[in-house]
Amino acid sequence: MRRVLLTGNAAAAWGARLARVDYVPAFPITPQTEIIEALARWIDAGEMAARLVTLESEHSMITAAGAAAATGVRVFSATSSQGLLYGMEMLYTVAGWRVPWVLVNVSRGLSAPITLEPDHNDVLAARDSGFLQIHCAGCQEVLDSVLLAYRLAEDARVRLPVIVNLDGFYLSFTREPVSIPEPAEVDALLPPFDPQGLAFRAGAPLSQAVAVLGGGPYSYFRYQVQLAAQNALAVYDEIAADFAERFGRSHPAVEAYQCDDAEVVLVMMGSFATKARAAVDRLRDAGRPVGLLRPRLLRPFPAAACRRHLLGKRALAVIDQNLSPGQGGVLATELAAALYGRPGAPLLASFIGGLGGRDIPPEELFEIARVTEAAAERGETPPPRLLYTEAELRELRKLQTIAAVERDRRGPAP
């Protein structure tokens, strides 16, 4: 084991390297490109026995990944944002092929307007595709999650592809101390891919990805994906326990921090949750019983684990770094579904923040805790709220004024 400073992107690349992947279809996109560039460098230097092929888009990249996995080799790829969405058609398709492989997504806000900075709408767009999803908050977690993801994907009870998500910029380009496990240790955790039925065998040709006619067989096969994804909950716990035993690092499906005696719990996914963790420490110093819950798995959704931590609390503040227009925060909806009708279900306050990389400073987290405590006091669920300051609005109004002057200067449209 070595401890070095790695960016989230480098940690993802190390995960793929240690997993001894065979094939990496690639297409560049900011802020992901360093992952595939690192793999290309190692392959070139003979440090990795894999083949990296550049494709002409993410659509063909994800297709190639799925097809290669269907021949029984271990496949890795990485993308971000528009790239993930451009490949969306194939996400559903390759998940339906039941081919295990791992795709790292480096979260970045979606167009329009165009941005490079992170939020979670990209990866959440893939929520219903059949891919499982692991969300990371730190660089070590990225490396470890790639390894966990292969074990999970390839397990005979699961056999589904997995997305490992990390936030662009905040993780992709931030260096943190990371322990790189010894290859032999990883080999013990992650044996060579056992393709089972997915293989080319001389004299036994198989046709894959065939059409079905009618809703009967269609429903059957789609529901098989649901059952496999549900199996993944117990399988994940097993794998995470094995991982913790081998490496001394625990990556539960849901990470709870200061939750046991908390009355109000902040719920967040991804790297911004580390800000909430620091805020919880400060609030605790001030004597306020606040905790933090961070689901690492989004699919399958660890509803039972969330309930275990949350039933009996006074209130939750769910901070969503995503927006489902016409509904609100996706995580808030997921949690509401997990808690609805259960005795002891806490009040749920929903906040939307950190869109397009917008920061969530400590003061806002304190304010969120305060608003949620007050709501619990009154027993009234507050309306969903966008985290946005007066100063930001003033700045935007200034720009709008400039735009209006410009428009007037030009006169009416011809």
């Binding site: 690639a26 297409f27 560049p28 996109i29 900011t30 490109t33 595939i36 560039e37 290309a40 460098r41 070139d44 990296l52 550049t54 002409e56 888009s57 993410e58 528009q82 451009y86 167009s111 165009i114 449209a413 011809p414």
Partner: protein, 278 residues
Amino acid sequence: MATETRTHALKAKEYKSDIAPVWCPGCGHFAVLSALTKALAYLELPKERVALVSGIGCSSRLPAYLDTYGFHGLHGRALAVATGLKAARPELTVVVAGGDGDGFSIGGNHFLHACRRNMDLTYIVMDNEVYGMTKGQASPTTAPEWSRSKLTPHGPGVRRFRPAAIALAAGASFIARGFAGDPSGLTRLIVQAIEHRGFSFLQVLSPCQTFRPEQTEWKQQVHPFDGEPAANDLEAAARIHADDGMALGLIYVEPLPVWQPLAQPSASLAEIEQELSL
């Protein structure tokens, strides 16, 4: 309402917006921007009659630097956006600009169909044989042995996409090649491309200083095309076959039927309703 007829003797620089380009010093794309404004001034096109559409890439930033209508689309989708725009507003001069990655990689299928649809669009591909914006990966026009990309240290190893040949095969009616280092020749070609009725494909060799510094040598390698522009596809095929990829000028132009949806419906609403009534 009476429409005002204004006289438009704008200077080239008046077509520029007040946003300073964020291109690297010496990037070929500056010359394309400048030639385009000169062409618009020469053609005396009112700003509000011109729409610039792009995809994503360094080159695709171009619309922001012009004071005309602009549309910054998605990676690879510039031609699809332009097709919709032109279908709805045929009176606009629609110019599409983007990179070789945008147009030939992720957006390659639109290129084929835009050529054969032959709408009255001008498509300028600022070709630097690299993905500039994502920091230097091979594009479809990159030489197979170019080994300076971190992603393909031994070169992409794939035969190059041949834009002119493909445009011809796909049915384009105007094919030309310009060079950022030849601003007046480039301006002339842009004027001709805009004036041509139909899909005008203009490949511009536009060096990337940062990731392809060796492209400064293009200055010594370019040369004019021999002979006159081809007037039919057979002649065009012969010219393109003999081309070394560095010849500049108008390669082929032929008036072919232009596709534009009818502005007027072919039947009245009453007639349609009558036909549909049971």
